[in-house]
Amino acid sequence: MFKTYLTVPLLLLLSYIIATLAGAELTKRGRLKPTLRRLPAIDAIEEAVNRSTEMGRPVHYTVGFGGGRGVNEPGLIPGLGILQNVATLCARNNIPLIHTCGFGELMPIADEAIREGAVLSGNPEWYRPEYNRFISQEVYSYALGVVNIIENEKPGASFLIGNVWGEALIITEPAAAQGIMQVSGCRTFSAMPFLIASCDYVLILSEMYNVSAYYTKDEMLVGSYLGTDTAQLITVILLILGFVLALSGQDLFKILTKW
């Protein structure tokens, strides 16, 4: 039978689901017209590519290894979305792009993203298969392989956006020491401080989704993010209510559990 002490957690979950679905549906129907926030990092990405163009150097992009969990990791999808946009920018400026892969499964998917980016820029001839390079299946030899590419080919800008764990430090260190402009981002809390310490712009945790969605402009996606925002507000309201009640000595969550 229904576990009554779980009523409120269930309601909480349902409210998140309904908020997401409703946001998506209402935006699709045109009832709501949310726009995504334009983060400074979007300008930074463009600036990095432009600076690389001025110097006549290639752009380096990698989505990280992420514990080798393969292509089903949620962190990888925004990373690939941003890759596609960087490819568009590179194709527009006609400068080479180097994308380094940590595992074989990623190769065809990244290839597709680069190719699509080239098509979107209106310069499909820019695409070359050698822009997409396989390094190694083992995390640290992958990271050191990327280091070799950064040190030998001297890109004008380097991006590390996607699913990054322990390799963060190894990849960003040589680029920072050479003064290469870096934009990075990931979902992993423990890799974040190293990115902040050594990169010029960092997409903090979920901001990555924001930037990726900003480029796609899919109404349904934007709408579901409006739902996400609403769900965050629900949490905030619960916290404020709980705090106010706590000042009068009552525990909101104890009451809710009994309810």
């Binding site: 726009t35 809390f189 993010y225 925002d229 965050q232 916290l239 705090f243």
Partner: protein
């Protein structure tokens, strides 16, 4: 005999890897990394084979024929290697993905509810002015950080923009603490390896 060879093999491989530091990708470094990759893949395969032997084949041989279904779905996973039938691999993955999502979203909201409750308990159990201050920092900080992650500008009031500066301070404190902790892990692996080298050479 083998007891003596073991650490020496370990020491040599360690030095091969460290040769990267002295001169980039040497032959020794490549030898060590490819050996590493090979041995670890071999080990993963041994473990997975054992899981399948005991978890599926063992059960089927005991007459639990229902387990032929996951066996077939599991074998479907390999169709990913072919062009023509690769969509079959999604059947097995669908069960795995679906059950993971179902497990995660239900449990996560409950755990999330428990941490909200834990925060409020901190405020209630406070009995000194400092305790209340700490509680306020805790709640206010959490609210600020949650509001930092607003994707759309629909709810985004000018007040939130001001608040984001405060959120960044809290986030940076969190990342700073994480930085300290991660450094401890990284350096302790390094010191352990230095100890290993010293011990094998008979110095420490």
């Amino acid at each position: 005999m083998t007891l003596e060879i073991g650490p020496i093999v370990g020491l040599l491989l360690t030095l091969f890897i460290y040769s990267y530091v002295v001169y980039k990708e040497t032959i020794l470094f490549k030898f060590a990394t490819f050996t590493f990759l090979g041995v670890s893949i071999g080990n993963i395969l041994v473990v997975a084979t054992k899981t399948i032997q005991t978890g599926v084949l063992g059960k089927i041989s005991q007459g639990e024929y229902i387990y032929t279904v996951p066996l077939i779905l599991g074998l479907f996973v390999f169709t990913r290697l072919t062009e023509k039938y690769k969509d079959l691999s999604r059947w097995g993955i669908a069960i795995l993905l679906g059950s993971t999502i179902g497990l995660v979203i239900a449990r996560d909201t409950h755990t999330h509810f428990r941490s909200l409750s834990g925060m409020i308990t901190q405020v209630i159990s406070a009995n000194t002015p400092l305790g209340y201050l700490n509680g306020i920092i805790l709640i206010f900080g959490a609210i600020a950080v949650i509001l930092y992650f607003q994707f759309t500008s629909y709810w985004d009031k000018p007040f939130f923009k001001q608040l984001r500066n405060v959120s960044r301070v809290f986030l940076m404190i969190g990342f700073g603490a994480q930085f300290g902790a991660t450094v401890l892990t990284r350096l302790s692996t390094l010191t352990a390896r230095i100890l290993f080298i010293l011990q094998t050479l008979g110095i420490a």
